[in-house]
Symmetry: C2
Subunit: 385 residues, 2 copies
Amino acid sequence: MKRTALSLLAFALGITSMFAQQAIFERQNIVSPQKNDDGTVTLRLRAPEAKKVEVMGDCIDGYRKEMNKGENGVWSFTTQPLAPELYSYRFYADGVELQDPANWNRSRDVRSFMSTFIVSKEEGDCGYLYGNHNVPHGNIQQVWYDSPTLGMSRRMSIYTPAGYEKGGSYPVLYLLHGMGGDEDAWLTLGRASQILDNLIAAGKTVPMIVVMTNGHADNDASPEFTALTQRGRQKASFEESFPEVKSYIEKNFRVKKGADNTAMCGLSMGGFHTFHISLMNPGMFGYIGLFSAAVRMDRNSNKSIDQQIADDAQVSGQIAAVFKAKPHLYWIGIGKTDFLYEQNKGLRTYLDKMKYPYEYYENEDGHIWRNWRIYLSIFSQKLFK
Amino acid sequence: MKRTALSLLAFALGITSMFAQQAIFERQNIVSPQKNDDGTVTLRLRAPEAKKVEVMGDCIDGYRKEMNKGENGVWSFTTQPLAPELYSYRFYADGVELQDPANWNRSRDVRSFMSTFIVSKEEGDCGYLYGNHNVPHGNIQQVWYDSPTLGMSRRMSIYTPAGYEKGGSYPVLYLLHGMGGDEDAWLTLGRASQILDNLIAAGKTVPMIVVMTNGHADNDASPEFTALTQRGRQKASFEESFPEVKSYIEKNFRVKKGADNTAMCGLSMGGFHTFHISLMNPGMFGYIGLFSAAVRMDRNSNKSIDQQIADDAQVSGQIAAVFKAKPHLYWIGIGKTDFLYEQNKGLRTYLDKMKYPYEYYENEDGHIWRNWRIYLSIFSQKLFK
């Protein structure tokens, strides 16, 4: 009886719902993205009336590229052979922006959308790490916590590792997003739950709780859940309010406490937050990670960054206190073309002069999610061991 | 220093990220949707090269409508005055489907996307119920549970009401999606967390845990999280596996048990699941809700639905057992033009003949989310009182 019911439902929905019907009609025969045997990927869009169709994205080197018109009004573009990675792209049909109608994989970056696909060559490569596999999965919670400091209830995302329900206590990583993100960013663009699931299943990363906050102190939540967005009218900084996050987590989750079991890292503005929250709370974090971090930047100063730090008694004193507490790891990662490269170089110069120990990771590219996913993959494997 | 850092970040990101730069450039001056004082809504798309731009959606009566080309290549369409509701729409530029680039509000329905907006006239209307307001918020968990019956670990979504963290135990509503959905559907298209937050805050609905499963027994999760999709190769039915859901919830959440504290409802295929899970477990649910439910349907039979039920000793016996357990509420809701209207009429005829008590709600329109959001709003207010 079940089968009959479902068949009839499909039939009846098909002829009564204009949305479903049109969706089926328009998507027919369009395969996009199509992964080819030679490692290239073909993107397609059916647009018979268009005079020009372009594609833009990080799967294509450079800016917009024109697509080629083929049979039945289907335009296509084939990339170069692609290395393992999560790629994003967008089409322009006669200049009008759209996401690939044949590809339901999309990511929201604040208020902008891109179509996405993952290339993976073998188990364990970065494309594999970003995908969903048949391994034990951690759970995700999206909770509201009180922040008297910011005068509002605020939303954050929490990953608990597979097996958490069975008991035991776990170390905690606070994972902060950049200026463009919110409490969803590390879960969507950052693929944090997939990275953690896959690295934990492979025995490379220790099971841990991962807390993903919203770093905009004038917002309560991502655009999909916000009731309070008061641009620029924040009562205090996110950094000042951070203890309220930690307090909520330690009250509501089974966490191992103390610096040995507490880590923080963040990208860009989240790196700035990580830097300053760790300065404000020396000895709180045994593991500190700066990913393409905004560190210190007085645009009008003609002093070098390391000299600016040295001349600031408060900051240099706080840095001394952080290192006096002997964190297990102070990790700095940045890409060679990142616009914050020089700032990070200045911070490193200061740390070198003071003989404060840190690990440094430098790779290609700039201020992009591709790097931050890589940094999380590397950094998470170094924690709580 | 914080302000300076953020300004510099914005500046530097603006000129280094081609995505951000293009996004800013293209969205300038386009306001869409624009809510007008007379209750109409204007939708706009900038497409200077297009020969024809159309809009389709439930904010427009009927199929695709042509938009009007105005200055600077901006096409527009103004709706009739709109009643409070969550509306969805999509553009077609020379036949190419796209979502409104100026509107970041979008909903995924399985693998299809629509742009959305909410119209609300006053506190408490249905548009208000579907929006985010500054009221205490429930949390959302997305967890994996073991299903030996289906041979996989499976994902589901759980809403816990505001205050759950503080203690106490709560009744449970199992809320099932239709054939087109997954464990995200009631949260996105269904606005379940907003409906519950707002009705609970208004004192109209009792605080409760809401469990939103994935009813496709051959899937483990929504497309964004699936590692296992085996169309048609299911080991057993979702209905047979349901006790594993209930067992997980009662083990991992502080729930009030027993029929007085247990409800189930579902839409379309989820109504079918609700009907049959309640038949398989008479006395388990004190509250049962069928929303536009697929009930019984032997297409080849020339017998009426009520006669089919009467002639099926197993089903009629199960129905007798369900009503013998005296549920507090057996609720049936359906729209007048729903393609399942006759089936529901047949079920009601049977219940009437047998003098089994139920509540019936009939409204306009057919097999659409608009109705299911309304049914949840009504049904949830009747529970656990």
